[in-house]
Every structure is written in structure tokens, then in C-alpha cells.
Assembly symmetry: C2
Homo-oligomer: 352 residues x 2
């Protein structure tokens, strides 16, 4: 099968671009003495996780245990769960994995600490704890140094657990301010963090200057997308995943309809003021992917001198690439411009 | 396993509510002499498609051939593809299915007509054609009566095809105006449509008055969601699908974080001005699901007198239920308040 005859819609991954993106981030981390711990949520593909480790990554980051189960099965042996696991079912599942890989869990509350302690007890394996602090997302993460100290002490005091350090996202001024205040307090109690883990592709290449991190968690950099390009952190040539779609209708001269909508691209919009619409057409830069329904994408061709015809296959860079991987059972791989075969997105939908 | 111990996040379907929703729509269609042809995109479950047909539906509607392949395998024998299929690969796949079920295809261009003609030729089975016209979506659908007539004539003149009628969505004043003008023209050429197919859950129960349809395509009515409730077409008690999620963090008194985000709920927002946020908590009506990241949902509890604790399982009605089915490999089924087991979402991700 050749690339042009792939059925659409289909995500197509250019492995040459992937390789360049991985090498660039690894080199950045190496040059600053930062351990790279890529977030596999972006690709959910065991083969790419293994490639990240081969190139020098310290291990990987997962959010859900379902992702970690797939990755341990694929031979990955060092995993940070950057997510507060909670409850007996999660403890039992983590216990099954813990003897097979080095695990750390990032968390922000005592109940999650108890879950991880139970996993350590059940498995007999020691599990590391990173305490997550809030640096501006208002998502998970403790809000005060007192809470951080309390959880760090509890981790140290709990059999089977090991206090390894702290974790946050993003790496802005709030991260530095929190660390500046927290690190002396931790040190004073003999709780100096072995790991200071920071995350986020958008500011990845400024991470060394943003905060005194020892480890970088990034996901999107492997593929890039319209958001990372719009933010100035990548170019269109750095985008490794394109949705290939077909023009299935041209009801008006200025309108094309493609065979992918929110069930193919996800419905993530760009940050306010950054750009409109749902994707970028490298071969028709003036075309605007202005609306989705579930299986249709409506493209405004008004600004296009040359316009695609019915039946033409178009390449699209999605706004946000991570949820795209989570919609498709398989992706097509390309190397040297040649179709290499399909690969199952093994951790797709592993949301538990 | 009981309902309370299901791992989260998980979509839970109340089959008693499903049954009532199906019966209500079937009774409406029966009382107005309209054929019901439910859109299975909402549930993607063979068992529920079969139940819709058992209760009196004329057949089903699919958008993608991948959905139809699953449904033919499950024994469904009457399918409308409400989507302009295009290209040799689609023709070959439709040809494999056409001998196993009565197929119609809705389309708006000559290239798609040629694809369906090729499927008919390859299979030896006759395939019906509905010409889609635009009634306000600016999506697919011809814009003029002349285009409609041209495609209807082509369908009649093409071996293996049968002109069966017309199709549109939504059923507003534009649909009626187009039909009022088009029907005499079609009749004058001996092309009176056997089928006038209209779609859309929001106006479903006014469909008989909106336009002279013979067939109704509706999907969301089987589950309902925050959008159909906000539009006044269903009540919270009519919502058959809830995401069950767990509170995994309470970083501040007014904020809870749940273990589902855009990879669990999809990121569909409510129509402007209708309501904010991403879901409704029946047990905490004042809670606001205000933000998502991929695996986190941020809940503002400011207005809640009673607030959920870490570890508590919450039920959420999503904004738009159709993309939720497309994110999860399986759903949990409940009847009489009791967990019945899981069912694979067999047509999930069948976007080709």
C-alpha cells in the first residue's frame, strides 16, 4: 500500500520528524543535566516510548494506570504516575505492576498516599512519592508549603514509601517562587528532594532557566501541533502527526467538507486570541477549518486561490495532538516519505 | 460487582431510562405515521441498535462504513448511510455489505454517486439514493433545486441505483421552504420521493409539523444529555448515560478535581448563552465542572452547601453524549438500579 491510497480519515506519523523532535529534546536535557521523562499521553504507542528511552530518557510519565499497564507490558521499567491514584482497585493494580518497574507516584493528598502505601504493602516493592504543588494551573497540587511538608513527612514515615521529591506544572514564576521558599524548609527537615520534576512542552526549552528542576516531563514535543507552533515553540516542519482526510463535498465554491470532525480531531479550541478554527492545512495555508460536527469538518476556502476538489486527500495539523491519539485505534507510520505500516495505539482509551 | 465499586471513570447506561426514551420516540413516530430510523452514532452498541429495531424502528442510520460493518455483523438489515461515501476503497467495502442488508446512501455530489454505483456494480445489489439538501447547517447538502434534480435524474439513470428520495437536517423553516419548492419539480419529472428523511433530536417531537417527512433520523434521544435538557427537550430523569468519576483531589475548599477530563468527556461546549461548563452533577446541582485538562476535571464547589470528599464517586451528565461513546471501549449497564455487566462499544472509533 502506498501513502496516497490510505483510507481516510487516518492519523499519519512521520517517523523522521519524530526522531528529530526526540533528539532535539534529549540534547537539550542532556546539555543542562536534566533527566528527560517524556509523557506518553501524546502518542500512547509502546514503540515510541521505547524509542524515547533508547535515546536517553530516564523513564516515562503516565497519568492513568491503564497506560502504565500497557507500557510495563512493553518493557518500560521506570514510570512516574503523575496523577493522584486513589482507592482499593487502583492500589491492587499498582501492586501488580510495582515489582516489574521502578514506580513513583505524584500526589497531593493523604488519601492518595494511603493508596500508594497499600500498593507497596501488597507488592512488597518500595514506591517513590513526589508531592505535587500548584504553580498556577489550579488543578491538582498542594497550595501551601505546610501541606507539602506534611505529605513529605508522611511519605518518609510510611513503610514501603520513599519521599523522592516534588512535582509541578507549569514552569513559570510561581514554580520558582514556591521552590525558593519550600526547598530550605524541606532541607531543614532532612527532606531534600532528590527529584524536582517540572512539566510542559510550551516552555520546555526554557525549563533550565525557569526553575531548579532535575527532571522534565513533556509530551507534545514528540508530535507538536497547531498550538505549539502558534506559541512559537515549533515550526510546521516539526509537526509529525497529520490527519489525512478526504474532501467529500463542495456544496459551494467557497466551502469544502472533509471526512473528519470532532470524532477524528477532538474539539479542542485554540487559546483565546491565538488563532481560530480547528486545524492547519500545510498544502492550503489559507483554508480555514472553521467548524466541526461529529464526522464532518467544514472548510472555508474563501481566501484560497487554488481550491481542493472532491476526492482530494488533504493533510491537517490538529490544534491539540494529544486527544487525537486517544480517538484512533491505529496510526499509519511513514519513513523517508514511504508508508511503513500501521501500529495499534495500544494505550488508547486507557482512562482508568 | 456492584455499581458502587465500578472503577472510574466509566460511562454507565441505565437501560430502564433507555427503554423509556426509545418507547417515547417510537410512539411519537407511530402516532404520526413517520418511520423511525435511529442514528447509532450516539451509542455505537449493536445490542441497542437491535433493541431499536425490535421496538419498531424501520432500520438504522450510520455515517461511516465502519459503523455499518459492525451493525451488519450484528444482524441489522436496513441501513441508511447518511454520508457521501467517496472513492474506490469505500465502494469495495460497501459492495461487501450491500448483499447483506438494504442500503441507501445520502449524498450531494456526482462523485459520490459514482462511488455508490460502483458498489452496486461490484455487488450486484441495488442501492437506494437519497439526495441531501442544505436546510441551514452549511455542512453537506445541495444548495439548489437544480442540483437536486440533476442528482435525482442521474440516480434514476444509473444501473444498480434507485432514486429513493431526499434527506436533510435540521427540520426548520428552510427545510419546509426547500421541500415546498422542490417536490412539485420532482413530481413533474416522475421523481416523486418515496422517502423524505429529516433529522435531529432537538426538534424531534415537532418533526411532523415542521416538514412533510416520511422518516426521522435521531440519535441523541436514546441517552439525552445536558444539551437536550438545556434546550427543553428532555429532563434530567431522561438522561440514560452518566459518567461515574471519582474525586481525586480537593486542593482548596471550593475546588474538587475529578478523574476525567477531555479524554473521558470530550470537550464539546454548550451553545453560546445556554450554559457554561462541561457537565451536570445530579447529586450536586450547584457544582460547576468548569475546566478540563486531558485527564482532570476541575469542579467549582463555591455554590455547594454540601461538598463531595476525596474518594467520593460522582455522577455527571455530559454536555454532548455522542462523542463520549466514541471515547470508551466499554460501558457499564444498569437495570433496576443493579449492575448488569459491561458491553463493548463495538463501533467505537470506526471513523473510516
Amino acid at each position: 500500500m502506498d501513502l496516497a491510497s490510505l483510507e481516510t480519515p487516518v492519523p499519519v506519523i512521520d517517523l523522521d520528524v519524530v526522531e528529530a523532535n526526540l533528539a532535539r529534546m534529549q540534547a537539550y536535557c542532556d546539555s543542562h543535566g536534566i533527566a528527560l521523562r517524556p509523557h506518553i499521553k501524546t502518542h500512547k504507542l509502546p514503540a515510541l516510548a521505547r524509542r524515547q528511552v533508547e535515546l536517553g530518557a530516564r523513564g516515562i510519565t503516565c497519568q492513568k494506570l491503564g497506560e502504565a499497564e500497557v507500557m510495563v507490558e512493553a518493557g518500560i521499567d521506570d514510570i512516574l504516575m503523575s496523577y493522584p491514584l486513589l482507592g482499593a482497585a487502583k492500589a491492587a493494580r499498582l501492586a501488580k505492576l510495582a515489582p516489574r518497574a521502578r514506580f513513583r507516584v505524584g500526589l497531593d493528598n493523604a488519601q492518595s498516599l494511603a493508596t500508594v502505601a497499600e500498593a507497596a504493602r501488597l507488592s512488597g516493592a518500595e514506591i517513590g512519592i513526589l508531592v505535587e504543588f500548584d504553580s498556577g494551573t489550579a488543578r491538582t497540587g498542594v497550595m501551601t508549603i505546610e501541606e507539602l511538608l506534611e505529605l513529605a513527612r508522611a511519605a518518609r514515615a510510611t513503610p514501603g514509601l520513599r519521599f523522592d521529591g516534588v512535582m509541578t506544572y507549569p514552569l513559570g514564576p510561581k514554580a520558582r517562587a514556591f521552590l525558593d521558599a519550600a526547598l530550605p524548609r524541606l532541607k531543614a527537615e532532612g527532606l531534600e528532594p532528590a527529584v524536582i520534576s517540572g512539566g510542559g512542552t510550551p516552555k520546555a526549552f526554557e525549563a533550565h532557566a525557569a526553575a531548579p528542576i532535575t527532571e522534565l516531563r513533556v509530551g507534545t514535543y514528540i508530535y507538536n501541533d497547531r498550538m505549539t507552533v502558534a506559541a512559537g515553540h515549533a515550526t510546521w516542519a516539526d509537526c509529525a502527526l497529520h490527519l489525512h482526510v478526504t474532501v467529500i463535498s463542495r456544496p459551494e465554491a467557497h466551502r469544502a467538507v472533509i471526512d473528519g470532525g470532532s470524532k477524528t480531531f477532538a474539539a479542542d479550541v485554540m487559546p483565546a486570541g491565538m488563532a481560530e478554527g480547528y486545524g492547519y492545512f500545510p498544502d492550503y495555508p489559507e483554508a480555514k477549518l472553521e467548524r466541526f460536527s461529529e464526522e464532518h469538518g467544514m472548510v472555508d476556502l474563501s481566501a484560497c486561490a487554488r481550491r481542493p476538489e472532491i476526492g482530494e486527500v488533504l493533510r491537517v495539523v490538529p490544534n491539540h495532538v494529544c486527544p487525537v491519539s486517544n480517538l484512533h485505534d491505529r496510526v499509519a507510520l511513514v519513513k523517508g516519505g514511504q508508508f511503513q505500516g500501521f501500529q495499534d495505539v495500544a494505550a488508547r482509551g486507557r482512562s482508568q
